[in-house]
């Protein structure tokens, strides 16, 4: 199995567990690989409150969380919310 860096592992886990329509994982550690920012859009967030959505992300990364110093979930949206936000941004 090829060695994956943490960012790829996070990406892979989130894709496998939450089948996002959009995902962006940013390494905010400045290279040490222990601090990340996640932006994720998934149908699985439909009908769930923000706390529940964040729990789903944390749960998907339970194994990885042991090595991560800080995980910041800056966005956990449904495809609808994401679309609306994109539209309002481009219309400005």
């Amino acid at each position: 199995e090829p060695m994956l860096n943490s960012r790829n592992r996070l990406n892979q886990q989130l894709r496998a567990k939450l089948s996002p329509s959009h995902i962006e994982v940013v390494d905010t550690s400045g290279g040490c690989g222990a601090s990340f920012q996640v932006e994720i859009v998934s149908e699985q967030f439909e009908g769930k409150r923000l706390l529940e959505r964040h729990r789903m992300v944390n749960g998907a990364l339970a194994e990885e969380m042991k090595d991560i110093h800080a995980l910041s979930i800056t966005k956990a949206q449904t495809p609808d919310q994401w679309k609306k936000q994109q539209e309002s941004q481009t219309s400005q």
């Binding site: 923000l50 706390l51 964040h54 749960g59 998907a60 339970a62 969380m65 910041s72 800056t74």
Partner: protein, 114 residues
């Protein structure tokens, strides 16, 4: 994935029940409100100061049992952890989001009236 929680002992659970309800707004954080030792904890302290609500902080860096116990109790892997009216509200990102949307101010107003 396998998520392995060592079961909370009933004694520790009872203690945590008491701690999280000891104040209407209580923040478990790294450091104290006057001396936060982590940017995320600092952010939540700043928000609580900005909404001008009385709150208590508990430094989890000084108590390893509390630190590991709360992770299980809240089912939340990181700190800070904000509790309002004895209920887990969220970590840093959720608090920022709720502050921006006004949901936090609304909830705190309700909590102080109840």
């Amino acid at each position: 994935s396998t998520r392995c929680f060592a079961a909370l002992s009933p004694e520790l659970k009872t203690t945590l029940d008491k701690v999280v309800t000891s104040h209407k707004v209580i923040l478990f954080m790294k450091g104290t409100k006057d001396f936060p030792q982590c940017g995320f904890s600092n952010t939540v302290v700043s928000i609580l100061k900005a909404v001008n609500v009385p709150f208590e902080t508990v430094n989890i860096l000084e108590n390893e049992i509390l630190r590991s116990g709360l992770k299980e109790y809240s089912q939340w892997p990181t700190f800070p952890q904000l509790y309002i009216d004895g209920e887990f509200f969220g970590g840093c990102d959720i608090t920022i989001d709720a502050y921006k949307s006004g949901e936090l101010q609304e909830l705190l107003e309700k909590a102080s009236l109840s």
